[in-house]
């Protein structure tokens, strides 16, 4: 029942996503689909690490799945981080630039 309660809480939290308008069945089912899609697709993508190391892929995928399931609801958090705020967009742009540049400069030959 714990997981059921957790999912039920997720549905209740979706209300915040659609405020100030009404929350329809289609909106809730869409958000639940997004939640499940996000978890499954990230876990599936993590399996790609098997091309680096099979053991690493197994451990990372398992850990990621556990972290994601225990962190639901993810979509409200994702949506807050990806709103139209210039500060957040700039933050993620600069972080991405720094990561790519550092990774390429010092680690570009490793892959």
């Amino acid at each position: 029942m714990k997981l059921y309660d957790q999912i039920f809480n997720v549905v209740k939290q979706f209300r915040k996503l659609f405020s100030p308008g009404p929350v329809t069945n289609a909106d809730v089912s869409g958000s639940l689909t997004a939640e499940i899609f996000l978890i499954v697709s990230l876990v599936l993508s993590a399996i790609l690490l098997r091309h680096v190391n099979v053991l690493l892929a197994g451990i990372f995928t398992l850990a990621l799945a556990i972290v994601l399931i225990y962190s639901i609801p993810l979509i409200p958090k994702f949506k807050i981080e990806q709103e139209d705020s210039l500060e957040k967009m700039l933050f993620y742009a600069i972080v991405t630039l720094a990561l790519i540049a550092v990774f390429m400069y010092w680690g570009g030959n490793l892959v």
Binding site: A34, F37, S41, I75, V111
Partner: protein, 484 residues
């Protein structure tokens, strides 16, 4: 030499300048814009394949090193350029046709921006000069900002300004990367740079070369709207006029493939290059579709779906085989057509209802059946339902990733297609099939015929490309064989 090749850029560029200068003559401006818009898809169809050297400076053979050098800015026109310039020309024509029929008094500056953007992307896909590409990339960014700012939608100025601020990070980084390449190779001609890298004249493992990839790659992310720029890209689509958004997304797709093909020719020898492309493409697919599922503004929803579809293009190119790149480029062509169809179709609904919130809409099937049916087919094409064009390109991508040894990516691509289908069915149901809300006024509001005409033309292309994909894929495959 083929003089029609530079005309593909010069005609829209000159039209932009002339319309801007003489915009106070309304009727003349309308006629002139219409005539130029008709010419745009015709020029690439009439032109022969070949190269054009600006200034007439032909390549020079260095006998000692047995290498060719290209002193001129070179335009290369092949089948790939022909179909993409033809597609953008046709789309520009349709968008300008919609705009001219919508307003009695047209805005010269707005038409200027539409033609300027078309000229810029055409130059980007034709050029073999990386600095020339960058100049038009900057012009394109300004045209995009202008098209968004010129729309009458609330907060469009704000969104345009944000896009410009983010561009002030992305563009200089790309220029810096090009500067590093120039320092390493002494050339900005892509063929010369690629030859220097492949002949071992440049150390491909040097940190400066790798850093140049990082910086140009970051600029490409900005141009393409892949994460972390997916939010702003979907934002500018939603704040532009619907016909403007249709053109904006095609600008994005063409600038994306133009830059990535240049990067591919230079950096393909580095495995990290393909890893980076696949990583960001998968991220775009996941984030784009996840966020589309939670939208209530249907323009924003299509914006996020468009970003997710960009991931498919990147995926094809990132896998790096002839078949996968062909699939990616075919997907790019399909996305231009399908997303334009959806933006124009949903724009027609905005036009008829003045409403963008799906929760306040309903029952539109009875009032606008033509738009409803064409949007349904367009949405199914985007989701990859046979026998439409989106199905063909996505099937090719799934096959390509399977044959490359990445079944996870194939499953992910199918999942994203299913999620896209869910997004579309949910939106379609709430807008067209559920009962009409009592407070929604629909009587007497018609959809402009120009929009229906544009949707019809795009729909025919979607169906034809779905039934006869070989017409395009064979030519693309030959092009890809040349760069691999």
């Amino acid at each position: 030499m083929n003089e029609l090749i530079p005309l593909m850029v010069i005609v829209p560029l000159m039209a932009a300048l002339l319309i801007s200068a003489f915009s106070k003559f309304n009727t003349v401006t309308k006629i002139f814009a219409f005539v130029v818009a008709i010419c745009l898809p015709l020029i690439p169809l009439l032109s022969n394949y070949g190269l054009h050297y600006f200034g007439g400076y032909e390549p020079i053979l260095d006998g000692a090193a047995n290498m060719m050098y290209h002193p001129a800015i070179t335009y290369s026109f092949t089948f790939l350029q022909q179909i993409f310039i033809g597609a953008i020309g046709l789309l520009t024509f349709l968008v300008i046709f919609i705009y001219l029929t919508k307003y009695r008094k047209v805005s010269g500056p707005y038409l200027f921006l539409l033609f300027l953007g078309t000229a810029a992307v055409t130059a980007m896909i034709l050029t073999d000069d990386i600095f020339h590409m960058f100049v038009f990339f900057e012009i394109l960014a300004l045209a995009q900002v202008g098209i968004v700012a010129a729309s009458s939608i609330d907060y469009s100025y704000e969104m345009a300004l944000k896009y410009m601020v983010l561009g002030s990070i992305g563009s200089p980084m790309m220029l810096l990367g090009i500067g590093f390449l120039l320092a390493l190779t002494g050339s900005v001609n892509v063929t010369d740079i690629a030859a220097a890298v492949h002949n071992g004249l440049v150390d491909a493992t040097s940190p400066v070369f790798l850093l140049s990839l990082a910086l140009i790659f970051f600029g490409w992310l900005y141009a393409s709207g892949l994460p972390p720029f997916h939010t702003i890209k979907s934002g500018i689509y939603s704040k532009a006029e619907p016909h403007g958004a249709a053109l904006l997304q095609s600008f994005t797709v063409i600038s994306m493939i133009s830059i990535v093909l240049i990067m591919f020719r230079i950096y393909a020898s580095l495995p990290i290059f393909e890893v980076l492309i696949v990583f960001f493409s998968i991220l775009a697919m996941i984030l784009g579709v996840s966020l589309a599922l939670t939208q209530t503004d249907f323009r924003r929803m299509i914006g996020f779906l468009a970003v997710g579809e960009l991931g498919f293009i990147g995926l094809g190119i990132g896998l790096g085989t002839n078949f996968s790149i062909t699939a990616g480029l075919f997907q790019a062509l399909n996305e231009i057509v399908i997303t334009a169809l959806l933006f124009i179709g949903f724009g027609a609904i905005v036009n008829a209802t003045n409403e963008v919130d799906t929760r306040k809409l309903g029952g539109l099937l009875a009032y606008h059946p033509k738009v409803a049916i064409m949007l349904l087919i367009g949405g199914l094409a985007m989701a990859g339902v046979p026998p439409l064009s989106g199905f063909q390109s996505k099937l090719m991508l799934v096959q390509a990733s399977l044959s490359c040894g990445f079944p996870e990516i194939s499953i992910l691509a199918i999942m994203v297609s299913i999620a896209t289908f869910v997004v579309f069915v949910k939106t379609y149901y709430t807008m067209f099939l559920k009962p009409k809300p009592n407070d929604l006024e629909l009587e007497g509001k018609e959809v402009p015929r120009a929009m229906i005409f544009a949707m019809g033309v795009l729909l025919i292309i979607v169906i034809l490309l779905g039934i006869f994909p070989d017409v395009v894929t064979n030519g693309i495959s030959n092009f890809v064989g040349g760069i691999l």
